[in-house]
């Protein structure tokens, strides 16, 4: 429906006024839901994402149980009204893949062997989408896991990098995602520098790839600080309640 803007980047300035390696405004709030064991709400640019964690609880159906460790379930779900053209409810191939890679992005930091036969269930709802929903989801899920008190070695932070109008850019918006040349979501354990999610759609040169990866690292570091701060605020608030 919408037409492609003539230029996505103008003299190094992007459509929303950012430079190539700047991130959008991000607001993270931990512990926003009552029913869930842990939760997190993030507004990240035009994205509005809610994550909830239930567990560790008995895994069911029983044949899914692992006698040596907890299993993780991860469900990435877009609300029907989160995108311009209404999304039909229910999983599609894209959300199945995103759920899988997001689950694997969080697995490395979870002490799963503490909870045999259990399930740690992570639900991510995309209420409004503006590019980078899977990385926003992982970022929110990581905070929600901490909020639920699930034993973790570290937080996982995630952000998208990519390429538009020939330039490597950090934290794509919708237009850059739709009309740009490449999109590369990355999740990291910032403290150790380990990568837990890496995907790339589109086409880039080897050099651009390295540059993008470094942008992502820098971005994840910023995200990590906001995640930590949200947990501190939650803790302080719960103490003062």
């Amino acid at each position: 429906m919408q037409n492609r803007p003539e230029k996505l980047i103008n003299d190094g300035i992007r459509l929303d006024g950012r430079g190539p390696d700047e991130i959008r405004p991000i607001k993270i709030e931990a512990g926003v839901l009552n029913r869930a064991d842990g939760s997190c709400y993030i507004e990240w640019g035009g994205n509005k994402v809610l994550a909830a964690v239930y567990g560790p609880r008995e895994a069911h159906p029983r044949h899914l149980q692992d006698s040596r460790k907890a299993i993780i379930k991860y469900r990435y779900n877009m609300a029907s009204f989160s995108v311009e053209d209404r999304k039909r409810p229910g999983p599609d191939r894209r959300s199945v893949e995103i759920s899988k890679v997001s689950r694997d992005a969080l697995a490395p930091v979870l002490m799963l062997e503490y909870f045999p036969r259990s399930s740690i269930d992570i639900f991510v709802e995309i209420l409004q989408a503006d590019a980078g929903t899977r990385t926003t989801g992982i970022t929110a899920a990581s905070v929600a896991l901490a909020d639920a008190g699930i034993p973790m070695k570290n937080l996982v932070s995630a952000i998208s990098v990519g390429k538009a109008d020939g330039e490597v850019i950090l934290d794509l918006i919708r237009e850059e995602d739709n009309y740009g040349e490449a999109d590369m979501p990355v999740a990291m354990i910032t403290e150790t520098g380990d990568i837990t999610l890496l995907q790339m759609d589109g086409r880039i040169t080897g050099e651009e790839f390295i540059k993008a990866l470094n942008f992502a690292k820098k971005g994840c570091e910023s995200v990590y600080k906001l995640q930590r701060r949200s947990l501190i605020e939650k803790y302080e608030k719960s103490c003062s309640d």
């Binding site: 839901l33 994550a51 999983p91 409004q128």
Partner: protein, 257 residues
Amino acid sequence: MSEDILSEVRRDYIYRLIKNGDRIGGRKADEYRDVSVEKGIIVRAEGSARVKIGNTDVLAGIKAQIGEPFLDTPDKGVIITNAELVPLASPSFEAGPPDENGVELARVVDKGIRGSHAIELEKLCLDAGSKVWIIFIDIHILDHDGNLIDASALASMAALTNTTLPYIRYEVGEEDEALLIKDTPIATTCADIGGEIVFDPCLDEENASNIELTVTTNANGDISGIQKRGTGKIPFEDISQIVDSSRRLAGELRKKL
């Protein structure tokens, strides 16, 4: 097992409280929890509203599309109401297509709106027999602490009053137009707990009750929807008093729109 015992203990507690004329949170029998309505929070949607009733939290979004009318109503637009009881909102919700509770929730909200004629379907017709507006009301439950129907119905009406039809995007007009709303049906739900009727039951109260009655009333007091739920029975003579209370409480909720 321990969960069973816990829920029995909780049921007993609720039951005794109510028998003593008391309620969790000190509410009166016909008193709602705090109700907040926040409109227009999803810019990608044609209309949206988030409603909280106590800890219950519901988001409704409206999307509009151009499509074909039903064969038997060629000159009318279409409303489709759908509810997602996503597992984020409650440990008792499971992923997958709506179960009977999700279906019932969506249908009760849908029938309340439809029965009230809040939306003139004829006004949604662009070209009889071939081109009409299809209005999707999507209800997304975020946090479940009971009385989902009232919250969902209120969120849906609030979102509809906040809806602009995207004539420009669909190239069927030169200006976007606000959706015309002609009435404001409000659903109010009560539960019977040990013979006492309480409105706006929270989740623990719902679990202690085996009968709920939802009555949807309009601005002029007409009824545009009733639904009895649960495995219990209601004495014939209680009904009319419930309807009267429903009408009065709906008047209060209506102010929040």
